[in-house]
C-alpha cells in the first residue's frame, strides 16, 4: 500500500480532491434526502390498512375511498351470487359490526357461509364495500375438511364420469 502514495502529487491536487469530496458528500446527502422523501410519500400513499368491520366503522369518514383490507366472517344467509353477471354480494361481520360487500367475479370455490375472508377494496360513502379482490382467510395449519365438505362425497357425480356432455 505504501507505493500508492509514492507518486502522490502535492497540495494543489489534494485541495481539489478534498473539494471534490465535499461535493460528493453534498451530492449524496441531496440524493439520500430526495430518496427518503420519495419513500416516505410513497409509503403514505400506498399503505393498505387491515381492519375489522368495527375498526372500519370507527374510522368514520377517514375510511372512505382509501384502499383497505377488511377481514371477518361471511354472515350466513347473506350471500347473493349471480353467475351470469358475476355479481356477488354478501355481508362481513366480526361479531360486533357488519358491513355490506359487493364484489365482481366468481368467488373462490370454497367461499361459503361463515368462512373467514379478507376483502381488498374501498369503502364507499354509501356504506358499501366495493371489493376488488376476495380471498379466503389463509391458515397455515392445514385442517382437514369438515364433515359434509368432503370433496369425494360432494362431487361424486363428476367422479363417476356422469358429467354433462
Amino acid at each position: 500500500m505504501a507505493d500508492a502514495n509514492v507518486n502522490e502529487p502535492i497540495t494543489p491536487r489534494k485541495r481539489r480532491s478534498s473539494g471534490k469530496r465535499a461535493g460528493l458528500i453534498i451530492g449524496l446527502v441531496v440524493i439520500l434526502s430526495g430518496f427518503g422523501y420519495l419513500v416516505y410519500g410513497g409509503l403514505g400513499e400506498n399503505l393498505v390498512y387491515f381492519l375489522t368491520p368495527q375498526e372500519l366503522l370507527a374510522k368514520g369518514t377517514r375510511a372512505f375511498d382509501v384502499p383497505l383490507r377488511l377481514g371477518g366472517q361471511v354472515v350466513p344467509g347473506s350471500v347473493q351470487w349471480n353467475a351470469q353477471t358475476l355479481d356477488l354480494r354478501f355481508k362481513v361481520t366480526d361479531g360486533v359490526k357488519t358491513i355490506d360487500v359487493r364484489s365482481h367475479g366468481s368467488p373462490p370455490q370454497m367461499f361459503r357461509d361463515g368462512i373467514g375472508v379478507v376483502v381488498e377494496g374501498r369503502f364507499a360513502k354509501g356504506g358499501l364495500f366495493e371489493s376488488t379482490n376476495l380471498m379466503i382467510r389463509h391458515s397455515n395449519e392445514y385442517r382437514p375438511p369438515k364433515d359434509g365438505h368432503m370433496p369425494a362425497e360432494m362431487y361424486k357425480s363428476l367422479i363417476k364420469g356422469s358429467s354433462a356432455t
Partner: protein
C-alpha cells in the same frame, strides 16, 4: 434407528463445529499448518455428518417412519414418492437440515479447492464458515430439531402443505434458492477472512468474485423458478407480487449484482475496497434476514412454517454478525485506502458507480417496504400492508435507469472516453431505441414504463450485441476466421467479459418480457355451459366437459377445454382444482398454453356439482415464456464467465480487443497516477 442415527450425526457435527472454530482461528493466527489441517478435517467431517443426517431424514420420509417428528408432521402414506422425498425442504425443520447440508457442502468445496493455499485468509474463512455452521447446527439440536421422538407413533401423517405438493417446480425452486442463499456465505467468509488476515488484495478479489458469481447464478435461477412456480400454481396469472418472501429472495440478489459489477472497479482500479467488503457482508446479512422473515412465522405465507422461538435465534445471529463485521471493517478501514481515483465523469467506472448507487437504493426501497408492516405492527399495533403500487412506483424508474446503464457500461472504456467516442459508439443504439419507442407507441402502448422498457431494452441489447460484433469482426479480419468460429473463439478467450454480456442479454429479455406481459395482459371471466365458447384477444375456447378423478392424496376436479381456431380444434387444455384430503381449500391448477408470442392461461374458478357449467378465468399474456428463457440466458452467462480457462488457448495469438474492453492494455499511467494496474493475468482466471 434412523432417528437415532440422524440425531446423533447432528449432535456430533455440532460439537465438532464448536471445536473447529478456535482450531481454525488459532491455526490462522499462529500459522501452524497442523492446526489448519485439523480445522479443515472438521469441515470435511461436518459435511459427512450432515450428509448422513439428510440421508437419514430422506430414508425416514420414504419409509414412513412416523416416530420421527418431522415425518409425522409432513409425511403421509398417500403422498407420491417424489413429493415425499422433496418434503425434506417442505417445512421448517427439514429446510434447516437441508440448509445445513448445503452450507457444509459449500464449506467443504471451498476448503478442498484452497487447501494448499498459504496464508491466513483461507483458514480464517474456514473459521467463519464453521461459525455459521455452529449457528445452523445449533438450530438443529435446539428449536428446529427434526429428529424428535414421537410417541405413541402415529399410523399416518397429514402430508406436506398442499400448495407444496402440487407442482414439479417444488423440486427445483427450493434447492436452487438454498444454493444461491447459502452460497452467499462463501464470499462473506472470504471477506471476513481477508479482513482478519489483513490481506484484502487481488487474491481476495479473485476468489470472492468467482464464488459470488456461483451463488448469484443459482439465486438468479431460483428467483426465476420461484416466479414460474407462482405463475403455474397460484392461479392469478402473475408471477411477482412484491410479497415479502419474494422480496426476501430478491434483496440479496440486488446487492450481489451490485458486487459483481463493483468488484471489477476494485480489480481494475483499486477503488471501492471498503464498499465491496460491505456489499458482500450486506448480501450475507440479507440472506439471513430473508431466512428470518420466511422461517420465523412473522409473516404469514406459504413459506412461513411456525411460530416457535426460532425467530429470536435468527435476530441474535443477525445482530452478532452485524456488530462483528462492522467492528472488523472499522478496524481495518485505515488500511483500505483507495489505490485509484476517478479520472473522468464519462468512463466505465462511473457507470459502475451509478449502477451501485441504483442497486443500493433499490435494495433499501424493497427493504423498507418489506419491513414497514412488521414495524407498524410491533410499534403501533396496526396491521398494514405495503401495496404493490408502492414498490412499482419506487422501483420502475430505477429499473429503467439500470436498463439504460446496462447499455452504456459495456461500450465505455475505463478511465476516460475519447472526445468523439459517445457519438461514434451510441449513435446507432440511440437511433434503434427511438425507433422502438415510436413503434411501441404506434401499436398502442400507453404504459410509459413499458415504452421505456422497450426503448432502453432495445438500446442495451444493441450495445451488448455490438460488443460481440466488434470483437468477432476483429478476429475475422486478423485471422480470416468465419463468423461462427470467430464468435466462439472470441467468447472462449474472454469468458468473463462475454459471459457478462450474455447475462445482460438475458436480463434484457426478462425485463422487456415482464413489461410486455404486464402492459398487455388481458383477462376475462365467464360462467359457461359445456358446448359454449368464450373469446379474448383472438383466442377462443370451448368448454367440453367437467370430470372428476379420485387419487390417493387428492380429488381432482378437471375441465376439458378445446382451443379453437375458427371452427377447428387446435388444442386441448385441462384447468383443474385439486382438493387435498388434508386441506379445506382447493388448490388451483391452471392450464397454460405457451407459444413464442405469449401464453393462453386458463384457470378453473368454480364449477357446478352436476357438471352443468363452470366459471373460467381466461388470461392472455404476451411474451411470458421469454421471462423464463431470459432467466436461463442469465444463468448461461454466469456459467460462461465461470468456465475454467483451458491450458492451451485456441488460435495462434491473443487478439487485442478494440476499445472499451477489459483486454485493452492499460493506458500508460499518467504522471501522478497512483499505481500501475496489475497485469490482468495476475488477477483473473482467464488466460489472455
Amino acid at each position: 434407528m434412523t432417528r437415532e442415527l440422524g440425531s446423533s450425526a447432528i449432535m456430533v457435527a455440532m460439537g465438532l463445529a464448536v471445536l473447529g472454530v478456535p482450531l481454525a482461528v488459532n491455526g490462522a493466527h499462529t500459522g501452524r499448518r497442523d492446526l489448519v489441517r485439523g480445522a479443515y478435517a472438521v469441515v470435511y467431517t461436518n459435511w459427512a455428518l450432515l450428509a448422513v443426517a439428510n440421508l437419514a431424514m430422506v430414508w425416514a420420509l420414504v419409509s414412513h417412519d412416523f416416530s420421527v417428528s418431522y415425518v409425522s408432521q409432513v409425511g403421509s402414506r398417500a403422498t407420491p414418492l417424489f413429493y415425499t422425498i422433496i418434503s425434506l425442504w417442505g417445512a421448517l425443520e427439514g429446510s434447516i437440515l437441508f440448509w445445513g447440508f448445503i452450507l457444509a457442502s459449500y464449506s467443504a468445496a471451498v476448503v478442498w479447492i484452497n487447501r494448499k493455499r498459504e496464508g491466513a485468509m483461507v483458514p480464517y474463512a474456514a473459521a467463519t464458515l464453521l461459525g455459521i455452521a455452529v449457528f445452523f447446527n445449533l438450530l438443529l439440536v435446539g428449536p428446529a430439531d427434526p429428529f424428535k421422538l414421537v410417541s405413541p407413533v402415529p399410523a399416518d401423517g397429514p402430508g406436506p402443505n398442499p400448495l407444496l405438493q402440487n407442482h414439479i417446480l417444488m423440486g427445483v425452486h427450493p434447492p436452487l434458492l438454498y444454493l444461491g442463499y447459502v452460497g452467499m456465505s462463501v464470499p462473506f467468509a472470504f471477506a471476513i477472512g481477508a479482513l482478519l488476515a489483513g490481506s484484502t488484495d487481488d487474491e481476495w478479489i479473485k476468489t470472492t468474485r468467482k464464488w459470488t458469481i456461483v451463488a448469484w447464478g443459482f439465486l438468479s435461477a431460483a428467483i426465476i423458478a420461484g416466479m414460474w412456480w407462482s405463475y403455474e400454481v397460484l392461479g392469478w396469472g402473475g408471477y411477482w407480487a412484491w410479497d415479502p418472501v419474494e422480496n426476501a429472495s430478491f434483496m440479496p440478489w440486488l446487492t450481489a449484482t451490485a458486487f459483481v459489477h463493483s468488484v471489477m472497479v476494485e480489480e481494475r482500479r483499486g477503488m471501492l475496497r471498503v464498499w465491496n467488503l460491505s456489499l458482500v457482508t450486506a448480501t450475507f446479512l440479507l440472506t439471513i434476514l430473508g431466512t428470518f422473515l420466511t422461517r420465523s412465522g412473522v409473516l404469514s405465507s406459504v413459506h412461513a412454517f411456525s411460530n416457535g422461538p426460532i425467530g429470536y435465534y435468527f435476530l441474535t445471529f443477525i445482530a452478532l454478525v452485524l456488530v462483528l463485521s462492522l467492528m472488523l471493517l472499522a478496524g481495518r478501514s485505515s488500511e483500505l485506502h483507495s489505490k485509484g481515483r476517478f479520472d473522468a465523469p464519462v468512463s466505465r467506472e462511473t457507470v459502475f458507480l451509478l449502477n451501485n448507487l441504483l442497486f443500493t437504493v433499490f435494495t433499501f426501497t424493497v427493504l423498507i417496504g418489506t419491513l414497514f408492516p412488521l414495524a407498524a405492527d410491533s410499534i403501533r399495533h396496526v396491521k398494514v400492508s405495503v401495496g404493490g403500487p408502492f414498490f412499482n412506483k419506487m422501483t420502475l424508474p430505477i429499473c429503467m435507469a439500470l436498463l439504460f446503464l446496462m447499455g452504456v457500461g459495456p461500450a465505455l472504456p475505463w478511465r476516460r472516453a475519447p472526445k468523439d467516442f459517445l457519438k461514434r459508439e451510441f449513435g446507432v443504439p440511440t437511433a434503434v431505441a427511438i425507433v422502438v419507442a415510436a413503434l411501441s407507441v404506434a401499436i398502442g402502448t400507453r404504459d410509459w414504463f413499458a415504452v421505456g422498457a422497450f426503448a432502453f431494452g432495445a438500446f442495451a441489447l444493441t450495445t451488448n450485441l455490438r460488443q460481440f460484433w466488434i470483437g468477432a469482426a476483429a478476429r475475422m479480419k486478423a485471422h480470416g476466421e468465419n463468423p461462427f468460429v470467430a464468435l466462439a473463439r472470441l467468447v472462449g478467450a474472454n469468458r468473463r467479459r462475454y459471459g457478462g454480456y450474455v447475462a445482460h442479454i438475458g436480463a434484457i429479455a426478462t425485463a422487456v418480457s415482464i413489461a410486455a406481459s404486464s402492459a398487455f395482459k388481458a383477462e376475462r371471466e365467464a360462467t359457461i355451459k359445456p358446448g359454449q365458447t368464450m373469446s379474448l384477444r383472438g383466442h377462443t375456447i370451448r368448454l367440453d366437459s367437467l370430470w372428476g378423478q379420485e387419487q390417493s392424496q387428492r380429488v381432482v376436479i378437471g375441465s376439458t377445454v378445446a382451443v379453437l381456431d375458427g371452427q377447428r380444434e387446435i388444442g386441448r387444455m385441462n384447468p383443474r382444482l385439486n382438493f387435498y384430503r388434508t386441506s379445506d381449500q382447493p388448490i388451483a391448477t391452471p392450464a397454460v398454453r405457451s407459444r413464442a408470442s405469449g401464453d393462453l392461461y386458463l384457470n378453473l374458478m368454480a364449477f357446478e356439482q352436476d357438471g352443468s357449467g363452470a366459471t373460467i378465468r381466461m388470461i392472455v399474456e404476451p411474451l411470458v415464456p421469454w421471462i423464463w428463457v431470459g432467466g436461463l440466458i442469465v444463468v448461461l452467462g454466469a456459467a460462461i464467465s465461470l468456465w475454467p480457462a483451458r491450458r492451451r488457448v485456441w488460435g495462434t495469438a491473443p487478439v487485442p480487443v478494440p476499445e472499451g474492453g477489459d483486454e485493452l492494455p492499460a493506458l500508460p499511467p499518467r504522471l501522478g497516477a497512483p499505481r500501475p494496474i496489475p497485469a490482468r493475468s495476475a488477477v483473473s482466471g482467464d488466460a489472455p
